[in-house]
């Protein structure tokens, strides 16, 4: 993954800062609720959404089951159409391939259409080390690049910025990268878009090399597909002489008929649109039309390992729509940067630890970055059971180093809960000490009592009351409830 993210603090620490940033929380709440509402409306228009979702899940699962075969088919078809296919096992290999290809052109600048795969492998940094400048041309990516920032959302990488901040970034930084922002730039969205258009137009007209990702790769024809809103991607895909596409091996669909399902699922789930404004498809090279030197770099970088995991592999169905981010209450408060990766939100919390492993403290903290509320699973257009994978990854983390104390505590709790007599003794001990429980707890409980009151401990547990109730019943008495209603002090808990 992007070297820019490595070294981020673990999720709880990063999220603590984000939660305290009132402007950020406001920006995120406003943006996610807007997209969430739009998505809900257009999904609600389709009677067969549930069937489409099932179809999307089934197609992806079938493709992943036979991924080797479809990848070979893709390679054969793309090669036959005039593209050159490269295989990259990891980030280092992928970066080396792209660097070599750019160097071979003699160019020192490339334009890019948004590609999470290249962010995942830190391509821009690798190219910079080789003396090559990469220009992001997606509007949000441009904002992120100009401000030396990280993306914080899959669909809207600059979601954490409002337009006043964007105006300031454009005015301050555009000149360093090319055409400067116009004097007296305001923060009207139209003005900002025009400034970006003028700035980027120069890049498109001068660049000889482009780097792209792809939303889908169609095995039967060796075609790549990019769906976008701005048209900047199409400029990158058609104007330069050399096109290098870096694509994760899970982006495959077998046929055009399969693609049709995702053409419905993706726009509705991501931007809340019935159809995205630009759908670009390219197959190899076409003499006299578009880039003549076309390369496809197929990226593994942890995906085969993920595929080997029975529960975790469903994360590879992801079509990067970001519906899970926009619904997630944790993402809404913690922001995308807290996830320490180009894949934030619920999908990032399951994808990043699988692609990178759980040895790092950031990766180990991600499976816990969820309340398991299930909203992400509900909105996922390919039915990835994210809560199930989170729990599965927690098992992996909990059995590793750094969890010895928790393991011991959980084992002790299991001992008590595994025997009703021990549980009863513990309950009676708690009731006896109920007056002595401090308002502020030490250790792990401190996080609770900092902002919440702990409940009052009742004078006796239910099971004690039940025994009396049984006796009363045996004597033919009433409910055994006499006086019972007032027993639990602090009914307002």
């Amino acid at each position: 993954m992007s070297s820019t993210f490595i070294g981020m603090p673990s999720f709880p620490a990063a999220a603590r800062q984000a939660v305290q940033d009132a402007q950020l929380r406001h920006n995120l709440r406003k943006a996610t609720h807007t997209i969430r509402g739009k998505r809900g409306e257009v999904v609600g228009e389709l009677d067969d959404w549930a069937e489409l979702r099932d179809a999307g899940r089934a197609i992806k699962d079938r493709t992943l089951r036979h991924l080797d075969r479809y990848l070979e088919q893709l390679e054969e078809q793309a090669t036959g159409a005039g593209a050159t296919v490269h295989w990259a096992a990891d980030a280092e290999e992928a970066n080396a391939i792209v660097t070599r290809l750019v160097r071979a052109t003699g160019e020192r600048e490339v334009v890019k259409v948004k590609s999470m795969a290249t962010q995942e492998i830190g391509l821009n940094e690798a190219l910079a080390q080789a003396g090559i400048t990469a220009y992001e041309t997606d509007l949000a990516e441009l904002i992120v690049q100009l401000s030396d920032d990280f993306p914080s959302h899959i669909l809207v990488p600059a979601i954490h910025r409002n337009r006043a901040e964007i105006r300031e970034i454009f005015a301050r930084r555009m000149a360093e990268w090319g055409v400067p922002a116009p004097d007296g730039l305001g923060d009207d969205p139209r003005e900002l878009a025009e400034a970006a258009r003028v700035h980027l137009r120069e890049k498109f007209l001068t660049a000889k090399v482009a780097v792209s990702g792809a939303n889908f790769a169609v095995a039967e024809t060796g075609s790549l597909v990019v769906l976008e809103s701005e048209g900047n991607g199409r400029m990158c895909l058609t104007l330069p002489e050399t096109l290098i596409s870096v694509v994760g091996i899970e982006k495959l669909v077998p046929t055009w008929a399969d693609l049709e399902v995702f053409m419905q699922l993706l726009p509705r789930s991501s931007t809340g649109e019935r159809m995205n404004p630009y759908s670009s498809v390219w197959t190899g090279a076409t003499p006299g039309d578009g880039p003549q030197d076309v390369h496809l770099v197929l990226l593994d970088n942890g995906r085969t390992d993920t595929l080997a995991d029975r529960v975790g592999r469903q994360a590879l169905r992801c079509i990067r729509c970001s519906a899970c981010l926009n619904i997630c209450p944790v993402y809404e408060r913690s922001g995308g940067h807290s996830y320490g990766s180009v894949y934030p939100g619920p999908i990032g919390a399951v994808l990043t630890p699988q692609l990178r492993g759980v040895q790092g403290s950031m990766e180990a903290s991600l499976p816990y970055a969820s309340s398991l509320c299930g909203a992400c699973y509900e909105v996922c257009p390919v039915a990835i059971d994210i809560p199930e994978i989170l729990v599965h990854l927690r098992e992996r983390v909990a059995s590793g180093p750094g969890h010895a104390a928790e393991r011991a505590a959980m084992a002790a709790a299991e001992t008590v809960l595994g025997d009703h007599r021990l549980l009863h003794m513990a309950q009676r001990a708690a009731s006896a000490a109920r007056g002595a429980v401090p308002r502020r707890l030490p250790g792990p409980g401190a996080g609770w009592t900092d902002t919440r009151d702990i409940p009052d401990i009742p004078p006796r547990p239910f099971r004690d009351w039940w025994r009396e109730h049984e006796k009363e019943r045996a004597r033919g008495g009433g409910s055994g409830d006499a006086g019972g209603r007032t027993e639990h002090e602090g009914g307002d808990r």
Binding site: A369, M410, E414, L417, L423, W466, R493
Partner: protein, 248 residues
């Protein structure tokens, strides 16, 4: 009908009023209630925190305890515990194991209170009286795992004296999430605070839910913020009558 109670470890230890309300309600409706004393915990905390083996042992204990009760239904007055048994026990059980067989036999009979009343016992008017304004928080596991839908609302609408207030952002998580509240205290607190604000904005005297663990989190936040809103389990509202009104 013979109904076995799974009171849950949290209810048993911290919220015995909920268990008592369930017994009162079901006996009032003319059903036989049993409480298998060997019961402890469904294992949800262990499962959700990544301690599968511990959770498996507790699951085996649960199905063993409840298999022999001869009950027509098992009531768990906690949506998340009912969901743990129905959704997650099959995932915990190795294929063909004793746990798998016992779960397949038992799980379909495990119900949350609103499911038991509406679907199994076929009643929405339980003769309750609760003269207060109430807002309902549909806890995540009740909403998404059990799919309780409008069952709790239907029950609340039949309660005499009760005025139901709509909760803004009802479907959003309160931020409890079991050990999430301890492992990610800042995000959890922010979610709890937003939930508390939503509840306070309704002007209701009481917020009601079908899960005491969520209510513990919400109630702890409301009390710290001195919002003046009480938390009450649905069972306590439904058990409340003119003769024996619930205290709030």
């Amino acid at each position: 009908m013979r109904i076995a109670l799974f009171i849950t470890c949290v209810n048993d230890t911290l919220y015995p009023d909920t268990g008592r309300a369930v017994v009162r309600l079901l006996e009032r409706l003319g059903h036989e209630v049993v409480f298998p004393e060997a019961q402890t915990c469904c294992g949800q905390m262990h499962y959700n925190t990544g301690y599968r083996r511990d959770a498996q042992r507790l699951a085996v204990r649960f199905v063993t305890t409840f298999a022999g009760t001869g009950a027509d239904a098992v009531l768990a007055p906690s949506a998340s515990c009912a969901a743990m048994i129905r959704d997650n026990y099959p995932r915990l059980a190795e294929e063909g194991s004793r746990l798998a067989r016992a779960t397949a036999e038992l799980a379909p009979r495990v119900h949350d209170l609103s499911e038991l009343l509406v679907d199994v016992l076929g009643v929405t008017d339980v003769g309750a009286y609760f003269p207060h304004t109430v807002t309902y928080h549909p806890t995540c596991h009740g909403l998404r795992l059990l799919g309780l839908g409008d069952r709790p609302y239907r029950l609340l609408r039949e309660v005499r004296g009760l005025e139901l207030k709509e909760l803004p952002g009802a479907e959003e998580c309160c931020g409890f999430g079991g050990t999430f509240a301890v492992k990610n205290p800042d995000v959890s607190a922010a979610m709890g605070s937003d939930k508390a604000r939503g509840i306070a904005s309704t002007g209701a005297e009481v917020v009601c839910a079908v899960d005491n663990s969520c209510l513990m989190h919400i109630g702890g936040t409301l009390r710290r913020e001195r919002a003046g809103v009480k938390t009450v389990h649905l069972a306590e509202i439904l058990a409340s009558t003119e003769q024996e009104p619930a205290r709030v």
